[in-house]
Amino acid sequence: MNVKLRIHTWRRWVPWLSGMAAALPLLCASAATTGNAAAALTALPESKPANAAMVNLGRHLYFDSRLAGDWGSSCASCHDPKKGLGDGLPLSAGYTSMEYFRNAPPLINLRHRVRFMWDGRLDGTDAGTAVRDMVTEAHFMNADGRIVQERLKQIPEYVNLWEAAFGKGSDPYSPRMFNAIGAFIQSIESKNVPYDRFLRGDTQALNAQEKLGMAVFNGKGNCVQCHNGPIGSDGKFHRLGVPEHPDVLANPLRTLTMLRHYASSGMPNYMAARTDVGLYAISKDLQDIGKFQTPSLRELKVTAPYMHNGVFKTLEDVVDFYDRGGGGNGTDLRPLGLTVEEKKGLVAFLLSLSGDPITVEQPPLPDLKARGNFGKN
């Protein structure tokens, strides 16, 4: 696929950086991408054997709101197993009295993520660090990890689970606590996915409409260009020109969270931002304005709404967006010219990337108890 960057629209999109925009054509001259003939959407590999005791501990902590500074939310508040491990909202809620400015992504098949977060600021191979970021970040759970660690020590059930995971006599310690939750979220995987069965030889696993969609996915629609590998993500960053969710600017709580994220990321001129700049806030490379990491295409059946800001409610909306060639603003996308049947097939195929319903058993919430041996900690 031959793609040209449209610098004139891009320049219009970021007037607040127009002073620097003169340098853009030079930077972009080498940015045109070429087709990736080898890219393919592959089957999910077999699960790695997990440390069951760590996963069990992590599952308990995942649902416990005492991991939040003010006990107002748990991991499950924004990554609810009943809502596809997201929150079902376009834009996530965030900490008490705050509102977040991006969509809560589903925590499914995380083992295959290259980076975490829409702007890719965290390493996908280190789930524990991502958990730490969520628990301690002011706009998510705003907790001091060391306080959370001390809270766990007052819950005898957790102390037992801890010893089962980390050995007799070891006691709650925040880095390990984050790793236990990381082990749990990495254990949440798609199961019995029609497309995977098809790839493994069950030709009946996909129907005719889904097979038509697969052909569009790999051909005319060229979805596979970016949505490839076992979870349908190249782990890279692309500018689609997705329309901004109006609430990001209309609701000052969201804007202030966004600008504060930029400020604490060290982004220049953050007070002038009036749209989500994505990767740029992390890389500070002008070419990265408006780029977000390719999301997984697995479990789309239960993970609406879609895109980094949840601006599309249905897969039909998403397919129409790509069919139009995206939203301008310097995107690499171009119109696809899909027929109605092709669009329907594509949506059907995308849904065939979802497996059996994912269930997570929510454990009971044990109480904090006084420790009888004050002074022997």
Binding site: R66, D70, M98, D144, T255, M271, A370
Partner: protein
């Protein structure tokens, strides 16, 4: 004239205090200490001058709940004017989901301290405000979040521009404004019986209170540490106070107790075996400083119960009984603490004098009118 007389009286008081001390105990050597005096106006740092507009802004910010983690814990939530500018509890309530581990001190006359917090870990009001607003068991706010919130409240944007001349509010200026406001929350000497007495009004103290003053400066030797205009030497002592009982059975207090040790960076052995609040030790890591706390002012005691760093005494009578017994059962307590042998009548006199260090009526401030909701930012002009 007044100054001269004050000086004379003060010098006499100091002399009699030393004399009484020398007579009452042969274990300690009395040191010359500054006599009690009337507070001067608080000193104002050159880099943060007070202006009416800054004080008004600081007052609003003191009440501003958005200067906390979850928008529920302004400064005033633990420093309420009608509770003596503390929170009335033995241990401060702390951030939601936590309890603090020490008593919420009055901010009355905090302008005069050169060390703040019970372990003296900050040295200015400008440094104290963020430590409280950001502390995980107090305000639990993130400085960059709090700063950004102010930038989305047009009334604050205007006020910060007027007071500090910045395009956008800066969080350190918020702390400066709060500090400037706190420098207005000070004792009015005209309303304090003891200060009126110092100024020459012989009827300002009752006879009982005058006897109490003599005890304060003499037999009870309170003046040894509670001296000068602030009625505090701002030094650190170990009194052997009883532990707050909650640490034995309240999980939230036990959590904070361990967390404080963990985050203050004590060695693991101390963290695992800490049976008490080590006080100044956390700052110096010197074992000699274990259990030492900074002498609090004795001004405005009428309104600031309960007392001590852990609020363990509810009444001044309990405090006086504690000192009369020579402090706590603690082999390592300050040698300055000795049984005083006060009679019941003397205790009443002493308490009467302590109360005469408070204003006739509590200093109260009305709630300020706070700015409204967050507003969207204006579009960027091309």
């Amino acid at each position: 004239m007044t100054l001269h007389r004050n000086f004379t009286i003060a010098a006499m008081l100091a002399f009699s205090a030393s004399l009484a001390l020398a007579q009452s105990t042969n274990k300690t050597v009395a040191l010359a200490v500054p006599p009690l005096a009337t507070l001067p106006p608080p000193s104002i740092p050159k880099d943060n001058p007070n202006t009416p507009a800054k004080e008004e802004l600081g007052k609003k910010l003191f009440w501003e709940s958005r200067l906390s983690g979850n928008g529920s814990m302004p400064c005033v939530s633990c420093h309420l004017p009608n509770l003596g500018w503390g929170d009335g509890g033995a241990i401060s309530r702390g951030y939601p989901g936590t309890k603090h581990w020490r008593n919420s001190q009055t901010i009355l006359n905090s302008a005069y301290y050169n060390k703040l917090f019970w372990e003296g870990n900050v040295t200015s009001l400008e440094g104290q405000a963020p430590a409280a607003a950001e502390g995980a068991v107090a305000g639990n706010g993130d400085s960059s979040v709090m700063e950004m919130r102010l930038r989305f409240i047009p009334e604050y944007v205007d006020a910060f521009l007027k007071v500090f001349g910045t395009e956008w509010p800066r969080i350190n200026d918020a702390w400066r404004a709060i500090a400037a406001y706190q420098r207005t929350v000070v004792t009015d000497a005209k309303q304090v019986p003891f200060d009126r007495w110092l100024a020459g009004d012989k009827k300002a103290l009752t006879e009982s209170q005058q006897r109490g003053m003599t005890l304060f400066n003499g037999k009870a030797n309170c003046i040894q540490c509670h001296n000068g205009a602030l009625v505090s030497d701002q030094k650190f002592y170990r009194l052997g106070l009883p532990e707050h009982p909650g640490f034995r059975d309240d999980p939230l207090l036990q959590i904070t107790h361990r967390w404080e040790h963990y985050q203050k960076g004590v060695p693991e052995g101390q963290y695992r075996n800490a049976p008490t609040d080590f006080g100044l030790y956390y700052q110096t890591k010197n074992p000699k400083d274990i259990g030492k706390f900074r002498t609090p002012s004795l001004r405005e005691l009428k309104y600031t119960a309960p007392y001590m760093h852990n609020g363990v005494f509810t009444t001044l009578a309990e405090v006086v009984d504690f000192y009369n017994a020579g402090g706590g059962k603690d082999a390592d307590k300050s040698p300055l603490l000795q049984p005083l042998g006060l009679s019941s009548a003397e205790k009443i006199d002493l308490i009467g004098f302590l109360e005469a260090l408070s204003m006739d009526k509590p200093l109260l401030h009305d709630d300020p009118k706070l700015p409204g909701d967050y507003k969207p930012l204006a579009p960027i002009k091309k």
